[in-house]
């Protein structure tokens, strides 16, 4: 698996000439482009919960006024997403900057993709994640889900960076991560009905589970991933005294939105659990939000003495 995170980016640019440049740029810079038409922009924003940003062109609307209004509408709908605007010329770049300077994070010219690259790195790929961490989270999560769901195949996409704050599904769990090198939360998100259907007969919960039993299953999955994460990356290291610092977490049910009080991008893993016989599939999104502290230079894997290793599930008698 490629361990360099990618990021899904919404492309709102009608230029057929520039589209090839954008495609090449995305391929070269870890971006997964998602195109939308003017008429579908708001629907795409509502249904895509894991975007990293938006590439917008200054002629996306039929008129300059429409271009401005659409940008304002997009920003109002998803203010956490950085908008990078391509301008036709230096003059229009300056003109639109004046009208949209509150919501456009960077502008660029078609022949000046270096500026876009710098902006992408500043706004999306601004947090570095150690390869060992990305690989380990994938391994831990895949192992836990494989153990919890019999006869389902678990696959995980390349980890990606998201900026949005939209909640996927109806069910999510949160658990704090506290260490000397990171402080924040792990969050698992799932749709309740598919999870309930797929868990039925394939997991430790009873047949025909109630929503509380499905809640409990997600809680235990969270606990198992958290425990393995701690054992592998935190050990007995204590977080610094700054651990007393906390910020409120805000959930807006109406907008299916959760804020951790930080504008930082989040690290996201998309897990797919598939029944190979029927082809039915459901998703779990796993996010890591290091909103309180992030010191990747201090990241370390806890070395395990081979003679001290006891396999999970086995009894170690004292």
């Amino acid at each position: 698996m490629n361990q360099k995170p990618v990021s899904k980016i919404l492309v709102l640019d009608k230029s057929s000439v520039h589209n090839r440049t954008i495609k090449e740029f995305c391929d070269a810079n870890g971006l997964v482009p998602l195109k939308a038409r003017k008429s579908t922009v708001m629907a795409v924003l509502r249904t895509n919960i894991d975007l990293g940003g938006i590439l917008y062109s200054d002629d996306f609307g039929d008129t300059p006024e429409e271009t401005v209004q659409l940008a304002l509408d997009i920003h109002a709908a998803r203010p956490e997403l950085p908008i990078f605007m391509r301008c036709d010329s230096q003059s229009s770049q300056t003109g639109l900057e004046n009208k949209l300077d509150q919501i456009i994070c960077a502008t660029y010219l078609a022949d000046g993709m270096e500026k876009l690259r710098d902006a992408i790195n500043r706004y999306i790929f601004c947090v570095m994640y150690p390869n060992a961490l990305l690989r380990g989270i994938s391994e831990i999560t895949t192992s836990v889900l494989t153990n919890q769901f019999q006869n389902l195949t678990v696959t995980v996409d390349t980890p990606y960076i998201v900026r949005d704050r939209v909640i996927f599904g109806e069910l999510f769990s949160l658990i704090p991560l506290e260490s000397a090198w990171c402080r924040g939360f792990m969050m698992l998100q799932a749709e309740a009905t598919p999870l309930m259907a797929m868990a039925n007969g394939r997991s430790a919960i009873p047949a025909q589970p109630t929503f509380r039993e499905v809640n409990d299953l997600l809680g235990e999955i969270t606990n198992l991933i958290w425990g393995a994460f701690k054992n592998r990356y935190i050990g007995d290291n204590q977080a610094s005294l700054s651990r007393v610092v906390q910020v409120p977490i805000i959930v807006n049910h109406n907008h299916r939105y959760i804020s951790f009080g930080s504008e930082n991008p989040q690290l996201c893993f998309h897990l797919r659990l598939t029944d190979q016989v029927t082809g039915s599939c459901f998703s779990i999104y796993e996010r890591f939000i290091f909103n309180l502290s992030w010191s990747p230079d201090d990241f370390m894997e806890i070395p395990q003495e081979v003679n001290q290793l006891i396999a999970s599930g086995e009894l170690e008698l004292f």
Binding site: A204, G219, N223, A228, G313, E314, L315, F318
Partner: protein, 121 residues
């Protein structure tokens, strides 16, 4: 009356472990946290083995183990921790509290059932 007490805040784990142990012929009671575990131990003298999680609300499993020895003055019941935790410090604290053994989740009943039967006696 039971001879095994399973203490876990997760209903999924509680039911899974209890169901397996009952299938292996043991009498099993359950508790949802350390407080509940202490209460069950106070009222059921037949319990010979406690299988407890560490991370639980209200009272964690290690505190419960310490209180079993100090407050209940029960020096004979065998305590096994079944937990996601595997840090040496946690285990040392468990040993100091008189914990007999440690299992890192997930629970694999077949791997431990014979040991459990010996501990129940």
């Amino acid at each position: 009356m039971a001879n095994v007490l399973v203490v876990d805040d997760s209903g999924t784990v509680r039911d899974e472990v209890a169901s397996f142990l009952r299938g292996a012929g043991m009498d099993v009671a359950t508790a949802v946290d350390g407080n509940d575990g202490l209460a069950k131990l106070r009222t059921d003298p037949r319990i010979k083995l406690v299988v407890a999680d560490v991370n639980m609300p209200n009272m964690d499993g290690l505190t419960m183990a310490e209180k079993i020895r100090s407050e209940l003055r029960n020096a004979t019941v065998n305590i096994i921790m079944l937990t996601t935790e595997s840090s040496p410090n946690m285990k040392e604290r468990g040993k100091a509290a008189g914990v007999k053994g440690w299992i890192v989740k997930p629970f694999k009943g077949a791997a431990v059932v014979e040991s459990f039967k010996k501990l129940v006696g």
